[in-house]
Amino acid sequence: MSPTEILTTLFSEFPYALYGSILVGIACAFLGVHIVAKRVVFLGAVLTQVSVLGLTLTFLPFIAIPHTLGALGATLATVVIISRLLTGKKIPRDAVLGVVFVTSVTARLLILQKTARVEVAEIENLLRGDILFVTPEIFYLMLTGFVIAAVAHLLFYKEFTFVSFDPDTAAAQGYRAGTWEMVFYLIAGMVISLATHMVGDLFVFGFLVIPPVTALLLTRNVRAIVLIAVSIGVVAPVIGLYLAFLLDVPASPAIVGVASAGLAGAWLWSTAAPRRA
């Protein structure tokens, strides 16, 4: 296929794959900047697995709810439970996240083993998200989730920034630091849950981490970091999908691979010219 044919096919046959990938790329890259800043990168990996577990639960015969609702419900419930533990000092953050991660994966494996309603391979496909077959329904649901997250960050920019940067002083000035942390994690949980259902855990976790880290290597301006990360969220899915068609490889790894290549380039650039970075 020629490049023109590939692009034409993408736009005409798989428009929601293209728009959906870009949407998730932007949403995850934007949220990822804050998650990396809070040093809770592993939270992204954990919530994608919790979301996948929520999806799996909906295959149990006695839980007759839509897949998306299952994923969303499990993720938000987990966020409510762990947000207090994440801000506490009794148990280290990474230990809390590690426990939730391993519990989610274990529970999913056990449930899949006992699920007889459909083929396990088919479930796995749905659980991991299939970029090429993104439906308009899930796309618009994700778009709604992203708009809610973006508006919340616009309205509560000051609160999120202050509480993330210096929670003690924010509390001394009268902010309910724990509540604001919870609001942030709920928004992150919602976006991660919807995105995981739509494009799979690899894509989501990859874009929560790789674009923000790339941007941190390239600039020392907070606004520019957000702008660069979001730009990677737009560009990498387009190039990745194009390469997936061209080389006949799976879309999700191709897209994350493009983002990783960008990260490697940024690292080389920053190493070669540390004063510019």
């Binding site: 900047v33 990396v36 800043a37 040093r39 309205l155 509560f156 920019y157 000051k158 609160e159 920034t161 202050f162 940067f165 210096d166 003690d168 002083t169 924010a170 509390a171 001394a172 000035q173 009268g174 902010y175 941190l216 020392r220 301006n221 907070v222 970091i225």
Partner: protein
Amino acid sequence: MSPTLIHLDRVTLGYGQKVILRDITVTIRQGEYFGLVGPNGAGKTTLLKAMLGILKPSGGTRTATHPEGRPLRFGYVPQRDSIDSVLPYTSSAVVMMGRFRQMGLFRLPGRADTAATLRALAHVGVEDLGAKVFRDLSGGQKQRVLIARALASDPDILILDEPTNGMDLTSRTAMLELIDGLHRRERLTIIMVSHLLDDVANHVEQIAIVEKDFFRVGDVREILTPAHLSALYGMPVKVDSLHGHYVVTVGGAHESN
């Protein structure tokens, strides 16, 4: 007598079931320069959090009201090492955070907030650091920026947690002079917390000594006695005066300076 800003009445403080301090009564009055001193882990930060209202007492009462009847505005300066930002915020952006509470919800910083930020930076002598990345600054510079952030909030009380910790003699002296100046020139109410007795004793007017099962509060001259300090450190302590400065000798050696 100046009006009371904060009053803790027989409070018990701790976390969960663990009691850190018991039966503490302390009053902070408007215009006072108050020192909170004690060894590391004695409960200074716990008491500070209770004064700020972050930690609710499990017993006793806390009142904190401005004489005009409104809630107090606290300008809190945390230990600078407690801030370890991944994102490269500029010093101006950090100081601007001090304005956030006054802006309220949904409002973005305006010209008045920018002007207040610049004024606060100039107030502590670091107006040239506004565009610099906060995490790249030296310890002393960071401390000044954090004080500027506290001042930008137009506080009723400035609260400093270990402001001279880890500083060399020059930076430490300059920092204490800066804090003294804020108190003397503007009659700003200040609470300074330190484990360094010399820092507190030679600058504040009122002092509280905090240690497990030991709490004394009052005028510096009344509290800084060999009997009190010997009880605090659990060994003989001498208190002398040299050129108008207190010199504390613990166990035969001069207390760390």
